[in-house]
């Protein structure tokens, strides 16, 4: 008998009596303005910087003002108009080893935890939002939801081959519980809320 059969047989014999799956949780909707405000506050609390803009060109202007040289920026969001624009895929993520700034579209923002859903559909290569030293996410205000339950209603997480909720810059507190921002992923994170 294969291990697969042996495991499944043992599980079948030993499993407890069948119990139904509980109903999906849902909570009263939160007004859009309150949601956006909470989202912005939470992103700041997890170490990110929030900038509200009314159009994509404003992001370009912001980048120009703060980072001056467009060579430092890999921009995957059409319309920002600053940095090196990229449309096609990147074959090998290793070429991004020294990347300083990446601008990426996030499709959903979550108010309760400041997380932004970033998926393969919006990435030239999977490693981009992790390998860059500074990650800049762009989220439309109408795509900000109150909690994770609502996020999963909006998303089909299995449609892309890869997707992640990203909340702030990478961090660790493994040495004596001292919080250090900037572990293996980005050291800084911006979230632009497009209103």
């Amino acid at each position: 008998m294969s291990s697969r059969e042996a495991i499944l047989n043992r599980v079948k014999t030993n499993k407890p009596a069948a119990v139904a799956l509980p109903q999906t949780l849902a909570f009263p909707p939160v007004p859009a303005d309150a949601c956006i405000e909470k989202f912005a506050r939470t992103v700041e609390a997890v170490g990110g910087t929030v900038v509200e803009v009314t159009n994509l060109a404003e992001i370009g202007a912001y980048l120009k003002k703060h980072y001056e040289s467009p060579e430092r920026v890999l921009n995957t969001v059409h319309g920002v108009g600053f940095g090196q624009e990229l449309s096609g895929p990147i074959e090998d993520g290793h070429v991004l080893a020294n990347l300083e700034i990446a601008v990426v579209t996030g499709s959903v923002g979550v108010a309760e935890n400041g997380a932004v859903w970033v998926s393969e559909e919006n990435l030239p290569t999977r490693v981009l939002p992790f390998i860059t030293e500074h990650l800049m996410l762009v989220v439309a205000a109408e795509n900000i939801v109150s909690n994770m339950h609502e996020a999963y209603v909006r998303l089909d997480v299995s449609a892309p081959g890869f997707g992640a909720f990203i909340s702030g810059p990478s961090r660790t507190a493994d040495i004596e519980q001292s919080l250090v921002i900037g572990a293996h992923g980005p050291k800084r994170a911006h979230v632009f809320i497009l209103k």
């Binding site: 030993n14 069948a18 935890n113 992790f130 299995s158 992640a164 909340s167 961090r171 519980q177």
Partner: protein, 464 residues
């Protein structure tokens, strides 16, 4: 490198004695963990629906365990459709062989690994090391204990038992940081540079799995450091290792679990990264190893199968008064603290018979558990099972039997109470004698009351 130089102590109480020799460190350890417990409290109290989430999570896991075979088959079917290769391992040895076979097939000599308690449970690093494979743990805390040739002492905070000066010395020796430097930000930056080179030059990455979704055939890995993603997305081969109990039915169930996990673990609203893997990259191979290693046996223990609901947040460990003052290594099992103490006896009753006794049964672990495992009850029940099975030293067993007799018979209880008070008044030294009564080692017995509550109640009831 091999971690075989570390010899695990075999008795919790003895190992705890050793840990407690350094009182300053114990006090620091105790406070650091309590601080995390408090952060968990603050985070949980911000959600009015916290208790509903816990109850729902527990029920979802109950549903999973009661249909585990069908969910596993459903997961396998969908994962295969997604282009993921699925392996089944009955035990640790088979798991390790499967992983080594994949590594060898690709002619790989070194790999990066993010945190996976399952691979700790299977002693994968030692096995691969013995077979000439260079394994680099990429979680900062895990890298620290790997350099120190020790196992992790905590499932979420692997080097919580180390002071920053010790980490500084390790990094000075292995990574060439400045002698005497111990600033956490400086040491973290050194580790970032050291491990970035490993990420960029490794063709194979091993990760753990936090949740595997039956409905979609994908899996979720949670980290704060981004190390699982850096490894997996840069490697040609990704192997994800998981215990069979990590299955959840639907993607929407993640809403419940991801709201609970990080809040319970560290008080964060969510981990920095919650990565959902469904298909390999076009240029990549992706493997999942489904590991039983005793879980299907535990599933059949009606008093203990609830332990398989665990999502490895570590909340029970942070709150445990015994763990906080005895350290993770005193548990001599891959998973320390209260949850480890109810999982370990299933694996080896003889070797782990001491662990369910490493508890005050205060119940704090059960109170903080996000999936409502009745941990302290199970600790108590394991004591009975281990005692009946002859795995418990005689002195402990006689005491337990006497306690059971006394507590189950009201007349004997009253007599025993009287004689106890009588003995303590007559010979207070006996109860306080450290050699005869280990409990009295760091304690002074209280003044025995002159009469029992029952005597007092009967007397005062007559008056009114």
């Amino acid at each position: 490198m091999s971690s075989s130089t570390y010899v695990a102590p075999t008795d919790h109480a003895k190992a705890a004695d050793k840990f407690m020799e350094d009182e300053e460190r114990v006090n620091w350890h105790d406070k650091a963990l309590w601080f995390i417990r408090q952060k968990r409290d603050v985070a949980s109290k911000q959600l009015p629906e916290w208790e509903l989430l816990r109850e729902t999570a527990s029920q979802i896991k109950q549903n999973v365990l009661s249909n585990l075979d069908t969910y596993l088959e459903e997961f396998e079917r969908h994962a295969k459709q997604n282009g993921i290769t699925v392996h089944w391992a009955a035990d640790a040895a088979e798991h390790n062989r499967i992983v080594l076979d994949i590594i060898k097939r690709h002619g790989i000599q070194k790999l990066v690994k993010s945190k996976s308690m399952l691979t700790e449970e299977c002693h994968l690093n030692d096995f691969l090391g013995d077979n000439g494979i260079d394994v680099v743990d990429t979680d900062l805390g895990e890298r620290v204990v790997q350099l120190a040739q020790e196992p992790p002492s905590h499932i979420v905070l692997p080097c919580i038992h180390k002071r920053k000066e010790e980490v500084g010395e390790l990094f000075h020796q292995h990574l060439g940081t400045e002698k005497g430097a111990s600033d956490p930000a400086y040491l973290t930056e050194a580790a970032r540079q050291h491990l970035r080179e490993k990420f960029l030059t490794s063709d194979l990455a091993i990760t753990g799995v936090n949740f595997a979704i039956a409905e979609t055939g994908g899996f979720v890995v949670c980290t704060n450091e981004g190390n699982a993603d850096m490894g997996a997305h840069l490697a040609k081969v990704h192997i994800a290792c998981m215990g069979i109990e990590k299955i959840i039915p639907k993607a929407e169930n993640l809403g419940v679990f991801l709201r609970l996990l990080a809040r319970s673990a560290t008080g964060q609203p969510i981990t920095t990264y919650s990565s959902h893997f469904h298909r390999p990259r076009p240029d990549q191979e992706m493997h999942i190893v489904l590991v039983d290693n005793g879980r299907s046996i535990q599933l059949g223990r009606k008093d203990f199968y609830n332990s398989l609901k665990c999502i490895r947040c570590g909340a029970c460990i942070n709150t445990c008064p015994v763990y906080r003052r005895s350290g993770g290594h005193s548990y001599h099992y891959a998973i320390s603290g209260p949850i480890g103490a109810i999982l370990a006896p299933n694996m080896d009753m003889k070797k782990n018979a001491d662990l369910p006794f490493a508890s005050t049964l205060c119940g704090s672990c059960s109170n903080v558990c996000p999936v409502k495992i009745d941990i302290h009850n199970q600790l108590y029940q394991w004591r009975q099972v281990l005692s009946d099975g002859g795995y418990v030293p005689k002195t402990k067993k006689i005491g337990m039997q006497a306690m059971a007799t006394v507590l189950s018979n009201p007349t004997i209880y009253r007599v025993a109470g009287k004689s106890g008070r009588f003995m303590m008044n007559l010979m207070p030294g006996l109860a306080n004698m450290k050699a005869v009564n280990p409990w009295a080692k760091q304690r002074e017995m209280p003044e025995p009351p002159k009469e029992s509550f029952r005597d007092w109640y009967l007397k005062n009831k007559k008056k009114s």
